[in-house]
């Protein structure tokens, strides 16, 4: 666990995450709008709304323009014959080892956002944990899923 894994996830992940962040940013934006309207109706100071707007904008800029890029840069994985090695996290870096023989099943998933960019996510489940590689090229994800399930098909003791 000294070196990072080699493989990066698909670069379009940044776009997908950005889109998701934009969609998510609508909620605080609507809240800010509501506050302005309330300030207009009940005639209290607009400064509360302006303060909230500043926070909303800052949060939006961070989650839309900065975090996806950083997140993508950190996200690495590597599939060995014996195990899966995953790294993720921006400030707090997580590195996870999942032995192939412990893998119970592998899923690929694709929501509307990922589909738009031709991506899919891969979920690896053991008896106790689940691990997700969030954005891979569709074909790559399917190939990887088959590869892992093939590798995981070793005789297991039990559980």
């Amino acid at each position: 666990m000294r070196q990072s894994p080699n493989e990066r996830i698909a670069e379009d992940a940044i776009k997908a995450w950005k889109l998701l962040a934009i969609l998510m940013a609508i909620i605080p934006f609507l809240l800010t709008l509501t506050l302005f309207i309330l300030a207009y109706i009940f005639t209290f100071s607009y400064w509360y709304g302006i303060g909230l707007l500043a926070i909303t904008l800052a949060e939006g800029i961070i989650t839309i323009f900065i975090i996806p890029k950083l997140r993508w840069r950190r996200w690495r994985y590597q599939i060995y014959d014996q195990e899966i090695y995953i790294q993720h996290g921006i400030l707090i870096v997580n590195r996870t080892l999942v032995p192939m023989i412990r893998v119970q099943h592998v899923d690929t998933k694709q929501g509307p956002i990922l589909k738009k960019y031709g991506l899919a996510s891969l979920t690896i489940s053991t008896a106790a944990t689940t691990h997700e590689i969030p954005a891979l090229l569709e074909d790559e994800a399917y190939a990887l899923r088959d590869q892992i399930s093939e590798l995981a098909r070793v005789e297991q003791d039990d559980v």
Binding site: M1, Q82, I92, V93, R95, A128, T129, D157, V159
Partner: protein, 484 residues
């Protein structure tokens, strides 16, 4: 035993009790509401009607419930409106446990609980009441075949009855007594007691309540103190009694493939733990027991019975001297006998993290209290001192020990726990570092194992980075093959 059999009629009683217990909370508000508004006769009528319905239903479902052993299978048919037939193959049966509560014991009956490997509770079967002889017969019949199917040699040993040759441990009464008096049940009972008292208040007539209060207030301070002490001792004794009843005659026996536990004075319970399903073995020394040198031994098992009171851990032994644990493991679970004596401690520079983690909430509390309730600020400050001590203790306790096959982790929340994890039982391993960690060359590790349905994650914070890497190398199958 090929013909279909019914359960003992006492099963009807159990059925009634179960349903009544389940529905009482739903009905209670209605009952209270109705009795207040003077609809008492309606209530009585409805109650009797429901009761008759319940009894009728229970009798019907008893009549429809049959079981039989056929070839290699146990077949159960049940259901009043919807008929269900369930077939369980002998080879899939993980354990068969016989347990008796008070009613069972009066009639010479037993409950038979059959567990299969799946985590789906509904797949398992339970015969709520059969005669003890039948239960034993069923147990032997279903059990033996599985054993014979596995190994033929075992047949002789199971026939010439098992009890003698296998290592077995039984709890002694003094130990049981200590277990009861050091168990944390005190707080729970105190809570119940207080709750009962507050509820009773509304039932006791006002005059008596008033008189009692007046009498209490008029007493000398000594009497009140003595009364308080009596209540305290009483609660304590109840706690002990509870433990004695629950764990009385606690006996654990090791067979080839499984551990077998019987316990209970009033309610006799059997538990079978197949060795294959043990995920980890642990030792727990609670804050009260640790200074006295006592510990409890538990296992984490995959699937199996979920005991609501004990959570997901299953006790292997309620209480023993910490120094005797090694011998116990050697005898009962030799797979886990390498209990290390020393642990690799955390580095000094991890201490600040532990202090902050233990006390940040209280620091906030001090600020809040200092602003709003200045005269009470000493309370969080005193608590802060305790939490700081706890932080230091945690830092001192936490550590790990690595051998070829076992990763042993020692850690503390409040109780000190030592957990032995086998390489092949760890489902995934994680190393976590934040920015400052990386500069300080510290890292947090997390090993996940399977226990009842959920994973259990053992986390050790702020270790030396090189130690975490060392454990990762041990865990990684790839690296190991490289070095061979």
């Amino acid at each position: 035993m090929s013909e279909a059999k019914r359960l003992h009629p006492a099963a009807i009683i159990f059925r009634i009790i179960t349903i009544a217990r389940q529905s009482i909370f739903g009905l209670l508000p209605i009952i209270l509401l109705a009795s207040n508004d003077g609809f008492f006769s309606y209530l009585l009528f409805g109650g009797v009607f429901l009761l008759l319905l319940l009894i009728g239903y229970s009798i019907l479902s008893w009549m429809r419930f049959t079981y039989r052993v056929e070839e290699d299978q146990l077949r159960i048919e049940q259901g009043v409106l919807i008929r269900k037939k369930r077939t369980i193959s002998k080879h899939r049966i993980q354990s068969i446990d016989l347990s008796q509560n008070v009613i069972h014991r009066i009639f010479g009956l037993t409950k038979v609980q059959i567990e299969t490997a799946g985590s789906d509770r509904t797949v398992d079967a339970a015969l709520s009441a059969v005669t003890f002889v039948d239960g034993k017969l069923l147990h032997d019949e279903l059990k033996q075949k599985t054993k014979v199917a596995e190994t033929i040699e075992e047949e002789t040993t199971t026939d010439s009855h098992p009890d003698k040759a296998y290592p077995s441990r039984k709890i002694s009464f003094p130990k049981l007594f200590i277990a009861g008096s050091t168990s944390g049940s005190f707080g729970v009972i105190l809570g119940l007691f207080a709750f009962a008292l507050s509820e009773a208040e509304s039932f006791i007539p006002d005059t008596i309540y008033q008189e009692t209060t007046n009498w209490l207030i008029s007493q000398a301070i000594q009497t009140i103190v003595i009364l308080g002490l009596l209540v305290f001792i009483g609660i304590w004794l109840i706690g002990i009694l509870g433990t004695v009843i629950k764990y009385g005659n606690f006996t654990i026996t090791r067979y080839e493939e499984e551990l077998y536990i019987t316990r209970g004075l009033l309610e006799k319970k059997q538990t079978t733990i197949p060795l294959k399903r043990i995920q980890a073995v642990g030792i727990k020394e609670s804050v009260i027991r640790q200074p006295l040198g006592f510990a409890a031994v538990f296992v984490e098992i995959a699937g199996g019975e979920v005991d609501k009171q004990e959570g997901t851990q299953t006790l292997l032994f309620p209480l023993m001297r910490r120094s005797k644990v090694q011998g116990f493991l050697q005898e009962i679970v030799p797979e886990y006998q390498d209990l290390p004596e020393s642990f690799t401690a955390l580095p000094k520079r991890a201490l600040p993290y532990y202090l902050v983690r233990a006390s940040w909430i209280l620091l906030l509390a001090i600020i809040a209290v200092a602003i709003f309730l200045t005269e009470w600020v000493w309370i969080p400050i005193v608590l802060l001192v305790f939490s700081a001590i706890l932080g230091v203790l945690r830092h001192q306790t936490n550590g790990f020990h690595l051998t070829d096959s076992l990763l042993t982790i020692q850690m503390r929340q409040f109780s000190k726990e030592t957990i032995m994890l086998k390489h092949k039982r760890i489902q995934a391993f994680e190393k976590t570092q934040h920015i400052i960690h990386r500069k300080q060359e510290l890292a947090t590790m997390k090993g996940s194992i399977l226990n009842n349905f959920f994973g259990r994650h053992y986390k050790l914070s702020d270790l030396e980075q090189k130690h975490v890497d060392q454990i990762a190398d041990w865990y990684s199958l790839r690296e190991k093959q490289g070095s061979d």
